[in-house]
Symmetry: C2
Subunit: 136 residues, 2 copies
């Protein structure tokens, strides 16, 4: 698997995103890469899933695969688990290939049952973060 | 204080909310119209502005104008002020033309200074909702 190192384009994007204010546009998060500490790209953020009532961002949906015969997959990642890394020009997530393969996911052409709280609990347990809806 | 009994409308809404799951995709909110109670379209949601640290959706940016020689304008609307109305098929916001013209806005080709908290306070005062960042 090739290592995706930072291109000047990535760095420009990183700089733009790192502007001082604390707000970020949804359409700017969409498409932003997710990388490991070593710079390797795991995939990109397809969309955000927002809790309608509280207005909290619950998940970033990571899209990966879709090349070399590998099926395109979507992974819901709790927003609380992602941090933006200026140097990487990406959101930062350290998952090994093995962890990635075991992470809760769904086929890109299928639909995740967002209403199934037990699946949501699995996701939060997997990433060891507290749930966006409070305690369970 | 009035007794809060459920009207048939409330019950229909409650049922709809129970049926549909509580999460919505960011790329589905983008482009959704905002309408008055009478169905008149004010514009459409251009994007969401998200507080990076807390993961709260701070604003929906309403895009309107751009026809009949009217400049295209963007209005930041506190997320807490918008409710999705299934019958309207849109987010619901009752602003008269006059209120719309006085609402905090910026030209679509300009950039709102999201880092300027005093402007953000103006926006929240205008829509009479508590700020997403807590008290001020």
């Amino acid at each position: 698997m090739q290592t995706d190192t930072l291109t000047p384009q990535d760095q420009a994007q990183a700089q733009a995103q790192a502007q001082s204010h604390s707000l970020i546009a949804s359409d700017r998060v969409e498409g932003t890469p997710i990388r490991r500490s070593d710079g390797q790209k795991l995939g990109a953020i397809e969309r955000l899933m927002i809790d309608k009532v509280s207005g909290n961002v619950a998940y970033a949906v990571l899209s990966f695969g879709g090349f070399l015969g590998m099926a395109k997959k979507h992974l819901p990642i709790p927003w609380a688990r992602l941090t933006y890394d200026r140097l990487l020009g990406a959101y930062h997530l350290d998952l090994t290939d093995e962890e990635l393969s075991r992470a809760p996911s769904f086929a890109a052409n299928a639909d995740f049952d967002w209403g199934d709280r037990s699946r949501e609990i699995d996701v939060h347990n997997y990433y060891r973060v507290p749930p966006y809806w409070g305690a369970y």
